[in-house]
Symmetry: C2
Subunit: 142 residues, 2 copies
DNA sequence: CTTTATAAAGAGTTAAATATCCTAAAATGG
DNA sequence: CCATTTTAGGATATTTAACTCTTTATAAAG
């Protein structure tokens, strides 16, 4: 995968929250169960996302998490990179120490284009957009 | 990166060997030094590549490794996948459990195209081709 | 035949990612 | 105030990848 599991869990959780009714509070354990993510581990990820302002958290009875506007307006790339660091790093596909336009390997030109395309793919739409298309496409199938 | 370090080391070693004079025997330690790879670790990788038939190994004084025809004719993808398992797996960029044309997420169509392009990029040229273009492009710069 | 140089093989270590467990803090309901 | 529920935070455990060390096998050179 192009993300680590940690990043994948974060995105799954965020997209899950993005598809819930406005202002609904969802417990960490419920997300874990519905998305099949180790629950304690997800709790940690949600904690971090709360710090970053991607979710609001509410303790105690009736508490839980909800997605913030910030996260709704962020791209998948932004959130994943916040959680796990750079995605698809700048390294050379043939193993050169430096990947640069100046000292390109034989595959550099094509690879740098593809890399840009990947970044564009996961950064051009907001979580809100992805989630709403998700609902459009997927709900009927479920 | 799209490979693990292990896969990257394997490719670096193979491309290094591919650029040596025909039938020259190169010691594991020399490759490690020139390519700046942990030497014992590389030795293990070369061992595995010897088993897979990508390099021939010769023990004793004057011994070392040389690349085989099989490796010369293989693609980078084939070698990396043999060493480290599938590259850029089939998982969904938005975290769906299944990535499939039947139940596509909003980014699926573009992503599956990109994935194919990446695979094509690192599988359409043989190690021999890449190494020779390497020499053409890079030698003057050194 | 002995020494030396090299790869092979296996065991052991370290480090990083992933996952679990336990206690504390906060909010709610009685 | 007390009990319960839920997140917060820290400690610990497990797993996997990365790296190292040691011994053995093999070949060549003297
Ligand atoms: S130099 Fe090889 S991909 Fe950029
Ligand atoms: S279903 Fe999401 S990328 Fe294929």
């Amino acid at each position: 995968m192009i993300y680590t599991k940690t990043g994948e869990y974060a995105i799954r959780a965020i997209l899950f929250l993005a598809r819930q009714p406005q202002d609904a509070l969802i417990m960490s354990s419920e997300i874990a169960e519905r998305e099949d993510i180790p629950s304690h581990y997800l709790a940690k990820i949600l904690q971090r996302m709360a710090k970053y302002g991607y979710v609001d958290s509410f303790k105690g009875r009736g508490g839980g998490f909800k997605i913030t506007k910030l996260a709704q307006d962020s791209s998948i790339l932004e959130i994943v990179e916040r959680i796990e660091g750079p995605v698809i790093t700048l390294k050379c596909v043939t193993g050169l120490k430096e990947c640069s336009d100046e000292h390109p390997c034989p595959l550099h030109d094509e690879w740098s284009k593809l890399r840009d395309n990947i970044h564009h793919l996961i950064s051009s739409k907001s979580v809100r957009q992805v989630a709403s298309e998700y609902n459009d496409n997927l709900k009927p199938i479920k």
